[in-house]
């Protein structure tokens, strides 16, 4: 028997898998990033049906909102290297190109609207136990406070490492350091 819940789960799972496959198969990095965002939305819907609404929100905000935008920035910075046909693609987008991704996104959007429409009844409909943000926070800071500190350390390391690597080569700082090394 196909219930609405299982329809929501399977549709978002299929959309996630198909869009991830499209990431693998697409040639243009712009399209790949957009397909990956769609795949992350699908996984967020799976989180929602698994009883993790807070993580579904975090997936959309952090993964699709922050990490993928970082990817888009870098793809744009490096676009002459990575997008050989970008100019041609942007000039003449045919309607056929839009149908597949737009259809996938529309299916997922319909699923999301259905799920949100049923919101609240998801927990009572079956034995899925929904973990609220409050429960999650209490469990996090009660049992895993060391992990929170380590996560902040990882973010600090990522930031310092990114700043160090992103320093422009041949910048004044670099030249000074080279001089120091040369003097030594």
């Amino acid at each position: 028997m196909i219930t609405l819940d299982s329809a929501i789960f399977w549709t978002s799972a299929v959309v996630a898998i198909i869009s991830t496959l499209s990431v693998l198969l697409s040639r243009n990095p712009f399209h790949a990033v957009l397909y990956l965002i769609l795949s992350l939305f699908g996984v967020a819907m799976i989180f929602y049906t698994l009883g993790a609404p807070f993580l579904a929100a975090l997936e959309v905000i952090v993964y699709a909102g922050a990490i993928m935008v970082l990817f888009l920035f870098v793809v744009q910075m490096l676009s002459p290297a990575s997008v050989p046909d970008s100019a041609a693609d942007l000039k003449r987008p045919s309607v056929g190109q839009f149908i597949f991704p737009a259809g996938l996104a529309a299916v997922l959007l319909t699923t999301t609207v259905l799920a949100l429409y049923r919101s609240g009844s998801l927990a009572s409909a079956d034995d899925t136990n929904v973990v609220s943000a409050r429960e999650l926070g209490v469990a996090l800071f009660k049992n895993h406070y060391l992990g929170v500190e380590l996560a902040s350390l990882i973010l600090l390391i990522g930031m310092v490492g990114g700043m160090h690597l992103g320093r422009a080569a041949g910048s004044p700082d670099d030249a000074e350091e080279d001089e120091k090394v040369a003097v030594r």
């Binding site: 789960f9 496959l21 693998l24 698994l50 993964y63 870098v74 990522g158 490492g161």
Partner: protein, 101 residues
């Protein structure tokens, strides 16, 4: 928990797609994206296991995967920019060729 076990299957499929992507693609950006897919699939497996056992700990582990993923992406993309400045390409094979000389 009717969807926990199918969700584990979906997580392994996504993980496999990511692993194949890392091996097959030659563009560094696509390799980084496949890494993202794999991390995300691992997170999905954690959440599915959490739903399977009815404990919130799996979901907490996803909260720890998030900063790992963002730090990895920040450093990986900075490295990609550096590599592009040095080698003028993101093709991993030609980078490996010119680095080996």
């Amino acid at each position: 928990m009717p969807f926990a076990e199918p969700a584990l299957v979906v997580a392994s499929i996504l993980f496999l797609i990511g692993a194949v992507g890392i091996v097959v693609r030659r563009n560094l950006l696509f390799v980084l994206m496949s890494l993202e897919v794999m991390l995300n699939a691992a997170g999905l497996a954690f959440v599915a296991a959490s739903a399977l056992h009815g404990e919130p700990d799996g979901q907490i582990f996803f909260l720890f995967i998030l900063p790992v993923a963002s730090a990895e992406v920040a450093i990986g993309l900075a490295l990609a920019v550096l590599i592009y400045r040095k080698f003028r390409t993101l093709d991993l094979w030609s980078i490996a060729d010119s680095a080996g000389e």
